[in-house]
Symmetry: C2
Subunit: 340 residues, 2 copies
C-alpha cells in the first residue's frame, strides 16, 4: 500500500492485542496442533481487528521445518563419502528427512561460503563431512554434526558447539602401519596431505613407527589429498628413499597415485613394495586395484551422525555428543611380506 | 477458527472482487515488482474487505522460487557425474541458484520416488542425469532438463515434455570402436548394461563393427553398469572368445572391471588386449589406469543444461530444447595396435 501512510501491523501488534507471545501467534498462523481453542480464537480475533497480513517471508519462516538435512562433503572425486551418505540416509529416510548433498571443492571454487546454499534451502541441520575454512560455520543457527573427522582444522571453534561422530583416523593409520611392520617391513613411507584427517592419520603412522623403533618418512605435507598429490608425494618418497618396501597412504586415491609412481620405477605391488590405502572406498575394492585399506566404518559413522541429529532435534539442549568409532583393516592384494 | 461456520475467503474470492487474475493476487502477496499501483491497490482493498488471510502453505507457494535446482544423478559410485555437476554449477552459481544433488541408487534403495525429496525442498527445476523408472517424473510441475542421456528408458513419456541436453552416446561408442579398428583390431568385444545410455552405446559399437564388416560380440546385456558388472561381462566375453584383442566398455568403471578379468587370464593391456572406456571420468585419468575413453563433454552438457533451465525460467512457453553434443576420444595408454 505505497500510498497508505499508516504502518502495517506486525506480528508483535497481534501478540500484544491477543495477550499472547509472538511464538503463539506463529503457531496459530501455521495451524500448529496443541494450541487451545481459547488462545487460537484470541489470536484470530486480533488478526482480524488489526487487518494483519503475514508477509510471505514470515510465513515461510513460520512453517519452519523443511525436513531437509544439508550434507557437505569434501570432493565428489573422492568416493569415501558414498558409504557415509548411505548410512545417513538409512536413518534419515525412515524419519522422513531428505539429504541434500554439496561438495566443498565445487562450492569453494564458486567463491561463496559453501553452506550458503544450504541456508537458502532452509535446511533443518547440517552434516559437515569435510574440512571447511575458518569462519565457514559462523552464525549457522541450525544444529551441526561434524561427521567423519574429529580434527576440524580451522573450523575448530564451531566444532566446540557441534556434535562429532568420527572414525578414529589416528588409530586407523596405526593399524595400517602395524600391519606392514608385522609383515616384516622396516622401511615404510607415508604419503600425507594438508587436511585435518590427514594430520590425524600422519600422527597414527608416526606413533606406530616410533613404537617399533623405526624412522618415520613423511612426504606430501604441503600438498592436497588427490590422486595427483599421491603420485607426486610417492615420487618424492621414492627419489629420497629408493629402498622403501612399504607405503602407507593417507587415503585410497593417493594410494592409486602411488601405484603409478611405483610402476614407473619398475616396482611391483606387492612383491617389491606393499601399499595400504585408507577409507576402504569403492576404489579399494575394485579387483584391479585390490587395495588393503583402513575401513573407518563410514556407513556407521553416517548412521550414528543421523541418530545424533534426530536426538538433537528432540532435545536441543542435550550436551555435545562426541563419538569415535574404531576402524578396522581390510587386507587385500596390495600388501605382502617383503622379499626375503 | 474451528467454531466459525463461515468459510474462509480464498485467493479466488480476492481475485474476483479486485477484478484481477489469481496470479496477480499472488504477485501482490509476495511484493513482486512490476505491478501497477492501481492494481496493487485494488488487490489490497479486496484483501481488507474480505478479511483474507493467506495460509502459510499458500504463502510459501506464493513466494515460489527457492532458487534451488534438484540434480538427480545415477550413482555416486560412478564418478562420471562430477564434471556434469561442475558444468551445471558454473552457470547456476552466478545466476544465484543452488544445486541439490541426490543419487538414484540410494533413493531407489529407500523405496520412495527419487524425486520426492526434491519436491519437498520446493526445487525450482529438476535436472535428471540418470535413467529413472517409469512414472518417476509423473506429475512433476517444475521444469525438467534431461541431461547426459537422450535415451530416457521407461521415463520416455516425461521426456517428451522435457528439455534434453546429451552427449551423443551412440557416436561416442562408434568413435571408440573405430579407433580400435583403425589400429588394426578385428576381434573386438563390447561390454554393455541394461541402461538407456548403454543401449545407445551398444548401437554405436554395432554400427561401427557392421560398417567394417566385423561381427559384433556383445556381453552383459542383462547386467548393470558397475565395476563388478564389467568384470562379469568381460569374463563371459573372454570365455566365449579367448582370441579377442579389443574391448569397448560401456563406461569407465566397467572398463576397470575388464582390466581385472584380463590380468587374471595373464593378458597384458595394451600389448595383448586394448581397452576403451566411456565417460572420461576421473578414473580414466588416473595414471595407473590411463584409460583411453570417450569424452562426452559432461561439463559442457552440464553448462548447456543450466543455460536451458535459465532460458526456460524466462520463457516457460519456449519449444522443447533438444541438443546432442558431439563427443571426442581421449587416447591414453590402454589402447595400441594388436601384436603383429
Amino acid at each position: 500500500m505505497p500510498t497508505d501512510p499508516i504502518p502495517r501491523p506486525t506480528i508483535y501488534d497481534v501478540a500484544q492485542l491477543a495477550g499472547v507471545s509472538k511464538s503463539l501467534v506463529s503457531l496459530v498462523l501455521r495451524d500448529a496442533p496443541h494450541v487451545s481453542d481459547v488462545r487460537r480464537e484470541a489470536v484470530l480475533a486480533a488478526i482480524e481487528e488489526l487487518g494483519y497480513r503475514p508477509s510471505p517471508a514470515a510465513s515461510a519462516l513460520a512453517s519452519q521445518r523443511t525436513r531437509t538435512v544439508g550434507v557437505l562433503i569434501d570432493d565428489f572425486h573422492n568416493p569415501w563419502f558414498v558409504e557415509l551418505l548411505a548410512g545417513l540416509r538409512s536413518i534419515l529416510d525412515p524419519a522422513g528427512y531428505t539429504a541434500s548433498v554439496a561438495d566443498l571443492q565445487l562450492e569453494a571454487a564458486s567463491g561463496r561460503n559453501p553452506v550458503d546454499g544450504f541456508l537458502a534451502q532452509h535446511v533443518d541441520a547440517l552434516v559437515i563431512a569435510a574440512d571447511p575454512a575458518e569462519g565457514t560455520l559462523d552464525g549457522v543457527g541450525a544444529p551441526i554434526v561434524v561427521a567423519g573427522t574429529r580434527e576440524f582444522g580451522a573450523a575448530a571453534d564451531a566444532a566446540l558447539v557441534a556434535d562429532v561422530v568420527a572414525g578414529d583416523d589416528a588409530l586407523g593409520a596405526r593399524l595400517a602401519t602395524e600391519h606392514l611392520i608385522r609383515l616384516g617391513h622396516r622401511s615404510i613411507g607415508h604419503l600425507t596431505g594438508s587436511s585435518g584427517p590427514g594430520a590425524q592419520r600422519r600422527r597414527g603412522y608416526e606413533e606406530a613407527m616410533q613404537a617399533a623403533g623405526l624412522d618415520p618418512l613423511v612426504f606430501g605435507e604441503r600438498g592436497g589429498t588427490s590422486e595427483a598429490d599421491g603420485y607426486a608425494a610417492a615420487c618424492a618418497l621414492l627419489d629420497a628413499h629408493p629402498g622403501i618396501t612399504g607405503v602407507v597412504a593417507a587415503n585410497d586415491v593417493m594410494a592409486v597415485g602411488a601405484l603409478a609412481a611405483l610402476r614407473e620405477r619398475g616396482l611391483t605391488v606387492p612383491a617389491d613394495v606393499s601399499v595400504v590405502g585408507h577409507d576402504d572406498s569403492p576404489l579399494a575394492a575394485y579387483r584391479y586395484l585390490a587395495l588393503t585399506s583402513v575401513d573407518g566404518h563410514s556407513r556407521e559413522v553416517g548412521a550414528e551422525s543421523a541418530r545424533t541429529l534426530l536426538a538433537r532435534f528432540e532435545d536441543p539442549g542435550m550436551p555435545p555428543h562426541r563419538k569415535l568409532l574404531e576402524p578396522s583393516l581390510v587386507v587385500r592384494g596390495s600388501t605382502a611380506p617383503p622379499r626375503a
